[in-house]
């Protein structure tokens, strides 16, 4: 297939015609422009993502990398990966995260305070900039033990790093000002985290950095490795959740009937936000490289060394798993979609992301249930997709 540009404004604004075009050609389709096999089937995507030995993450081609090689998100060696991820697995469990409910609600309320005043004055406010973008960043900064007065700075660095998702990897160079800004933020954050790591060695706390520094596996790691793993959390957990929140605001804002249902029955909120994730996913695809020989993928011969685009966005609308997949329906039977990945590298922060989104949408329903969209919504990336701005007004 030719002429499919994942980084085009068209694909970002409305990916679905492109996705369905690929799916029409079959469950596994060679894309000339990116020289990769695109996979649109939910079943085959799971099979690939389960098989971490053959479908690898480490080497995805030329160019700079967002996550360093020491971050477990980049690892194929299961033992090494599990040892690192295992340090934080308890911190990200339901029971541990329940203790953060108060903190998350406070952050949501503080951000809504900023938005509510101008809204009540009849003004239009960008929900993305005032609420969605910074909520997850403040929460993870808290979990990392960043002191209160430094959190706004960390959030600012995180915002700049996040802009990288809209720049094609081929342009991660000095002549792209957005990349220069993002790189500056990545480096500044690295320096800050290295300081914090050194500090926590002598002053252990309950935070995530102290946990890794003072763990068995952490004792065998360089500060750089610890930093890359910590910075990974700031990157993997911010833009993603912020964009999920943005999608929720847009989808619910466009569906006053759904909004009314959610206001009347809060027990519908968890399923509703999962349906937003399925219907408007944030992470649209994930990359894999085949190693260890050729592979027959349900009749398609993949050659050793070839690369794949697992189109998880397409899997979320696979008619074999989802009846009438193009329809947004909060009353669907709750089933996992691939929006949080699958298998070994499935999202560590999924429970946190759900908690943040449920609480924030809950506070929106409490405080400004009569919100409505006040303008057009644009999207600038297919790979990591969310609304650029969400203009809202009160009815």
């Amino acid at each position: 297939m030719r002429g499919i540009d994942l980084y085009s404004p068209e694909a970002a604004q409305d990916p679905w015609p492109f996705v369905e075009q690929v799916r029409e050609q079959g469950p596994v389709v060679w894309l000339d422009d990116v020289r990769r096999w695109a996979v649109t089937s939910d079943k085959l995507s799971r099979r690939i993502l389960m098989n971490f030995e053959r479908f690898t993450v480490e080497d995805q081609g030329k160019g700079p990398r967002l996550f360093g090689p020491e971050a477990f998100i980049s690892m194929d060696d299961k033992d090494r990966h599990d040892a690192l991820r295992g340090v934080w697995s308890v911190a990200f469990q339901r029971a541990s995260l329940e203790a953060l409910r108060g903190v998350i609600t406070d952050v949501a309320d503080r951000l809504l305070d900023e938005a509510e005043a101008p809204l009540r004055d009849g003004e239009s406010v960008d929900a993305m900039a005032t609420v969605c973008r910074d909520l997850p960043a403040y929460v993870i900064a808290y979990m990392l033990g960043v002191p209160a007065q430094m959190r706004p700075k960390v959030v600012e660095w995180s915002d700049k790093m996040g802009a990288v998702a809209t720049i094609p990897p081929g342009q991660w160079r000095g002549d792209n000002p957005k990349w220069v800004e993002a790189k500056g933020a990545l480096d500044a954050l690295a320096d800050y985290l290295m300081e914090q790591i050194a500090y926590r060695r002598g002053h252990p706390g309950e935070d995530l950095i102290s946990q890794i520094v003072h763990s068995d596996v952490g004792r065998g790691l360089s500060d750089l490795a610890i930093m890359e793993n910590s910075r990974q959390l700031l990157f993997a957990g911010n833009e993603t959740t912020a964009k999920w929140l943005g999608h929720c605001m847009v989808v619910f804002g466009r569906r006053p009937d759904v909004l009314a249902e959610l206001c009347a029955d809060r027990s519908l909120v968890p399923n509703a936000i999962e349906e937003v994730m399925r219907w408007e996913p944030v992470v649209g695809l994930t990359f894999r490289t085949l190693r260890g020989g050729d592979f027959d993928l349900e009749g398609t011969p993949i050659k050793d060394g070839q690369r794949l685009l697992v189109l998880t966005a397409a899997a979320g609308r696979d008619p074999e798993r989802w009846p009438d997949p193009g329809r947004f329906d909060i009353h669907r039977e709750l089933k996992a979609n691939l929006g949080f990945g699958y298998g070994m590298h499935s999202c560590l922060g999924v429970t946190l992301a759900r908690l943040e989104t449920q609480i924030t949408i809950g506070r929106v329903l409490d405080r400004i249930p009569n919100f409505a969209l006040a303008g057009d919504v644009t999207y600038s990336s297919f790979v990591l997709r969310g609304p650029d701005v969400v203009p809202v007004r009160l009815n």
């Binding site: 099979r47 389960m50 697995s89 469990q93 039977e333 999202c347 999924v350 429970t351």
Partner: protein, 64 residues
């Protein structure tokens, strides 16, 4: 102890069968399988840990 699972919610993180390999397994697509719905007492701690550790709230445990 009686265990039940909702496999359709599973994202194959592996937390359950790595924690309690005699209680939970996985099918060829990585989705959780329940090897023993009423495990013996010596597996109860592992089973509870697996339920707590599941990121997708797939496992429910009933204890009298």
């Amino acid at each position: 102890m009686r265990i039940s699972i909702e496999p359709s919610k599973c994202i194959a993180s592996g937390a359950c069968w790595q924690t309690a390999p005699k209680v939970f397994g996985q099918d060829e697509e990585g989705v959780v399988t329940l090897l023993t719905p009423q495990p013996p007492r010596d597996l109860w701690v592992q089973a509870r840990d697996a339920a707590i550790g599941c990121p997708a709230a797939v496992i429910t445990i009933e204890e009298d």
